[in-house]
Point group: C2
Chain length 201, copies 2
DNA sequence: CGCACAATAGCACGACCGTTCGTTTTATTT
DNA sequence: AAATAAAACGAACGGTCGTGCTATTGTGCG
């Protein structure tokens, strides 16, 4: 009866399949450009069959945004935890992030969602803000650990460094798609090196 | 007869009015979220009346993108030309850009268009790429002039500095809308200062 | 096996989309 | 003022949108 929850194992499986296709579509067309009709076609189902899994388009979009945040979190943040605290882990975050930009050539879902919802109040915007906040905090925490490990100077402002890392990543993201990806990556690496060097002990 | 060009003075005037409203809508909803029906309502005209001025939705979108590029160019790039070559002009570009981000609180049309079209070939993408390229080159040129004026070191890579300025501006743009605009601006200013200082003579 | 219910399909709806067409109003020129 | 061209309107088209509702298919548990 409840429309938004899959109870059987088959239901959960198709829901995962739908979300997988939805993620791919939303990467290309944006979360706002994701339609149930196109999604149903990609999943090999009927519109109403897809619809029943979420109950509303907005619930579907929310699930897709969370899916995007989860994928980035796994590929970049969680993966970096295997590296030792301090500069190794901080460097890992940056490298994995750069690799993420390279490997998702048709666009990062969350990055796209930011400019879709940044000035549009509602639960979708809230989800995007929450994802970015978590993401930023994880980066700042890695910087703080690098300071505590003695890799960066004690007077370093962790939030400031995180802000600048995001800026470099955003520029890389944009340049990779608009101009030459190779050159963009080289410039991003150079910018990161300058940033870390100017604060290292 | 020709649908895309206004020949009388009245025609040109309404076309300007339409583009003005279209610009406002596209800033909020994105260029892809601009519909002729909503635009007609905002302009106080009929759908077909609006449509006749452009001949197709894509032509309208193209005109809106060019409008967005023109407005930014005037408010930031052209305005900075009044400042003396070298650091004064470079600083002016950055400050005017930051002001632009502050004053267009519901979103910058071009910035939004980038993530809408960066992986969607076509004339709209071409227009966005061209606008960003022009914009980037103007910034790099200002950096070069600052080098020639002796304000920045001779071994400074102008393209690299322009890349990093864009990164800081992008981070400011994003943070201003997702988090606290005040803090974002302070962080952006600090990042710019560090960038310029580390290359100044 | 058979029962209960989840999962999916099919169909229809009202709304809005971009676009076309013929007509009418308005502006410019002769 | 008459003639001509531009501009704007209003209605309609075929399509797609998200969303209900009802029926049918399939799964999983007792």
């Amino acid at each position: 009866m409840s429309p938004a929850a899959a109870t059987t194992s088959k239901g959960a499986a198709t829901r995962d399949l739908i979300l997988d296709r939805a993620y791919a579509i939303a990467c290309r067309n944006g979360v706002e450009g994701l339609s149930i009709g196109e999604l149903a076609l990609a999943a090999g189902m009927s519109k109403s069959g897809v619809f029943a899994h979420f109950g509303s388009r907005e619930a579907l979009q929310l699930a897709v945004i969370e899916q995007g945040a989860r994928r980035f979190g796994e590929k970049v943040l969680i993966r970096s935890l295997k590296q030792a605290r301090g500069m190794p882990r901080l460097r890992a975050i940056v490298q994995y992030w750069f690799d993420w930009v390279r490997d998702n050539r048709q666009g990062c879902l969350i990055m796209g969602a930011v400019s879709e919802y940044d000035s549009r109040p509602g639960p979708l915007r809230d989800a995007v803000v929450e994802a970015m906040r978590h993401w930023r905090e994880a980066t700042a925490r890695a910087v703080t650990l690098a300071i505590e490990a003695g890799d960066l100077r004690k007077d370093t402002d962790a939030a400031q460094i995180a802000f600048e890392i995001f800026g470099i990543a955003l520029a890389l993201h944009q340049d990779s798609r608009l101009f030459e990806a190779r050159r963009a990556r080289a410039q991003a690496e150079k910018a990161i090196d300058r940033l870390f060097n100017s604060h290292s002990t």
